[in-house]
Amino acid sequence: MAHLSLTPTSKLISSGFVWLLWIVLGFSASHTHADTGLTVPQRVTLSPNWYTQELSISWLGGGATTFDLIILRTEFNETVFYETVSPTVNKVSGLHQWTWTSVNPLECTSLSVKIRSRDGHTTSEWSQTETLQGNDHPNSEQRVKVFPQDKVLPVGANITFCCILDEGMVLDKLKYDGNTTSVTRLSRRTYSTTVFNLVASRQSGSNMLCLPEDKEKLYGTVVFVGYPPLPIDFKCETHDLRSAVCQWGKGRDTHLYGSQRGTRYFVNNRDCSEVNQDVGQKEATCTFDTWEGNWTLVAKNLLGQYSLTDTAELSHRVCPVAPDLLSVVADAWNASLSWHWKYDSYSSLALVCQVEITATEDEKLIKRVFSGVGLRSVFLSDLYPDEHYSVKVRCGAQQNFWKWGNWSKLSSFKTKTYVPDTPDAWIWLNTDNTGKVVWKPLTRRQSHGKLTQYEVFLWSLEENRALAPAVTLPPNNWSMPVNLTEIAFFSNNGSVVAKVTARNNAGSSPPARVHLTSVEPLAAPRIVYTDQGFPLFWENNANATCGYVVEWLDAFCPQDCPVEWIKLPAGTTNVSIESATFQPGVRYNLSLYSCSSDARELLKRWQGYMQELVPSVALTLSASQQNADVLLTWKEIPLVNRRGFLLGYNIYNSTGYQFKLLENVSDPETMSYTAKDFAKGFIKGTFKFTVKAYTAAGENTGTTATVTIEPYTDWLILEILTSLGLVTLLLAIVTFTCYKKRKWVKKAFYPDIPEPKLPSDWPRTRGLLDVKPSPHSMVCVVETPEYDCIKDMLVAIPEEDEDDAGQGIGDESVDTDEPTSLRYYNQMVDERPIRPRFPDSSASSISSMSSAHTDVTYTGIQTSGSSLVLQLDPQGSSECHQPQLDRSVSSGGGGYRPQMQPRAPSDDMDLPSPESFLEPQAACSGGYKPQGSWQLDSPVDAAEMGSLAPSLGSPTSVASTQFLLPDGEENTGEKRQLSSSAASWLTNLLSSTKP
């Protein structure tokens, strides 16, 4: 607004102008709203529902269908709700109404409400503010400080609490069910908190506490969280055939109890709540005097309601009441039971009744069902004498059976006594015809009353009289000794039976008859125990008029054995014998007797074990050496210790670290074992033998015997002599064969060498052979300087050899100017025995020696061959060279190389081919290579010549027993000597055969 500065006069004028302006503006504004037709809502009233937290707002006027509604917390002027709403309109009164539900209880703080009309974007003025006063107002004197009070909510709901503190108080915390919650301040004194997803509360509800800092103050409220009712199994029935009793289950626990919050039940609109308020009661009932046929159950609580219906005819829903006043009239074996009905209407009702009888003796329950119209008594048969029983009854409608009625009260009674059952008697005899008559104790069920005594008569069948007065025995005695020898004397060897009777207050039992006759034992085959016991089978015996008796006892029991038996009816042909007294490892004899009026007869007998075990004791074992054998002997295991059928023995030998099974002796009767030739091959030593007996259950621990083996030298000597004899015999056969076939041998191995044909002018006088190197007429000189190895060899090696030879042979007359090869040649032609010349020379010397040292006897020298070597130029002028790839090798392994022509021995006069020169191993490392036709297929073959095998089948010199192939081990002097001696032996042998 503009600020004006005016004089007093002008002030008056201006003041009037301002007023006028305000009036105009006000009119203009009023005119504007009047133009829209929207009037301000009038007479706004607020109606709170404190429990539901709903605020009903009503007003008049406005002329619009929509209104803007704003709700604020008065104290803090905070907007709680601001929306355009369409209220309902009362056409008569024209009152608009809108209901708002508050999250917070309405008591928490004051709320202010304003309304204005709205038509599209046009609105009226706000109405006057209407305030709902909260309990935090200073003038409020309410005792309750926490809201809401005693609220009932369903499980899973949310709830907002608020707490209003007194003036000056400070809030400490809010706690729900012991847990501190987060707090929101609504006003100066009011605080709120919200709890989400509520769980079911306990019986006295869940506590919400408001705790100020002043510990003496405590505010709070209780909330009850639960479920709506959900009853089940709603059915109506009748007990008296007139009225109706409706029943139902309360179903799920609502967690809401008490007269205010608990579930109320209504059946056909009749309140049945009063009798069904107990918290722990699961079932509920409601009674009607008449049968209506249709019923509706409504269950209600503050959270909801649930309905169930039932429809039925009376005759289909009869549930009789429990029989009353039971009475029993009992006999020995049966009883008569009767009762009364509460309602006379049952007399025409067809009933079915269930009777439960329990014997006190064994708590065994007997259920029997009876039926009849108006049934009120039944006859109970098949009871036991002298027995205590309790009985109860319940009934149901026989037609359209609905359900059993309640059980009656128990009624007890006792049956009368009766004479005992016949004792089950048998006889056991020792081998000396003494024995005892035995019988099984009568059970309470068999005694039919308290037993007073047993009586035993010895009865002669022929004379039909008692041989002696009855023997009376107390009821705890179940046997009587007998002596068949004495009885036979008194009965004149007639048939005698023992009659055994039991007596109680009701009288004596029928007698049990036992024939006092001995039986001859039978062979007992083995029988195998099964899960059902010992399975026994036999053929029916026509004499067994009163059945069979199967008896069993410990097979090794010597005297007065505890015998067990079972009696079987006539016609039985098999039985499985099972007994609690059967023990593992005990052999049982099972005997089958026939029963007749005249005598007893042993029909069959078996032996078996319930479970076989390993023998319980070890053997008594001894061991001894017998020459090369070891004899083991042992003693039999006593029968009682076998604990199973003995199947044999396992014999083991242990040598300290080995435990070896020597033999399995499968014959249990065998008591010895001989380990044949066990001492052979052993010098001397201690050996252990273990013998273990075994049954089907396995071996026992065994017994070990130790034996010390003495060396058995006779056999060793015999063996050596035998071997020597065989070798001698073989040599004799070979010698003899060679002698017989000497011609063939000579021809094959030592053919005649043709005598050289000498010219007539050849001097025959023997003189010193003066051999000069032949002219090198047949030497081919190859101009290959690098292969000039021969020259080197002939120069270098012979000089060394010469030196060595000179040292080795001493005074032997040798022309030292001659090359080695010449000397060698001279030696070859010499017929004197060959002897080693260079026994320990160097490697190179050995190579030379291999030719010099060989035992080949060149009795006939092939001049053509020798000339090839001897044609070397001693002056080194010769142009013929051996191929030499490696000089060092050549000097190391070489030495003398006579006429080596590996590829074409027949062409020894020809020039050696270049390939032959290029054979590295054969040519340069070689040593002696006699003239042979042996051809090396390849350099590899040549390399493999170190082995002996390729030499087999090799051609030999006609004058030599040596193979003509190069020997790879020819550097090994010792081998050479051996072969040389063998060859000499053969040569001598053959020479001796020369004619």
Partner: protein, 186 residues
């Protein structure tokens, strides 16, 4: 219990029996409060103001022992009235439930009734007639205006009142017992 051991053991006289009964009542009231605070745990740390629910004003400034027993009898009737109201209200609120608290509550009520008969027998004369019925002075204002939560607080106060008056009964009756037994011996 320790207190019981320190005091002389009452004989078989009526006063002695009354003393023993009062002590037993006190013990059971204590147990009842314990069971209640186990159910409403928030009460265990709550101490209400010292205002008594039950009061008995003596007519004279120095009442005799018999007059004190008269006053005690009156106070115990009020206690019984409060207890009846608690039982009735609790059954309304959360029904019947056979738990230890309810069982002890029944015991306390029966014991309190028995003590009322005892005190009546001790001090009633030919000229006086003492009632043993509950003196029900409480109403909706005292027990139910604060809602269920207020009722829980009020119940707690009633139980405290029971403990207080049963203890007071034991002491007063012991004095009476001492006086009477001493006079008889003299």
């Amino acid at each position: 219990m320790a207190e019981q051991e320190e005091q002389p053991i009452a004989g078989r006289s009526l006063t002695g029996q009354a003393v023993a009964l009062a002590r037993l009542l006190h013990h059971e009231c204590t147990s009842l409060l314990r069971l209640y605070t186990e159910r409403e745990t928030f009460l265990s740390s709550y101490t209400p103001d010292g205002k008594r629910l039950v009061s008995a004003s003596p007519e004279s400034e120095e009442p005799s022992t018999e007059e004190q027993v008269h006053l005690l009898h009156s106070a115990l009737r009020q206690c019984l009235g409060l207890l009846h109201r608690v039982i009735q209200k609790e059954e309304e609120e959360w029904g019947k439930l056979e738990d230890e608290y309810e069982s002890m509550r029944k015991n306390v009520r029966a014991r309190l009734e028995h003590l009322l008969y005892s005190t009546k027998g001790l001090v009633e004369t030919d000229g006086t007639n003492l009632e043993v019925t509950p003196d029900n002075q409480c109403n909706e204002e005292t027990d139910g205006s604060g809602g269920v939560f207020g009722f829980k607080l009020w119940t707690y106060q009633v139980l405290l009142e029971l403990i207080h008056w049963s203890d007071h009964a034991a002491k007063t009756l012991h004095v009476l017992h001492t006086e009477r037994e001493g006079a008889e011996e003299a």
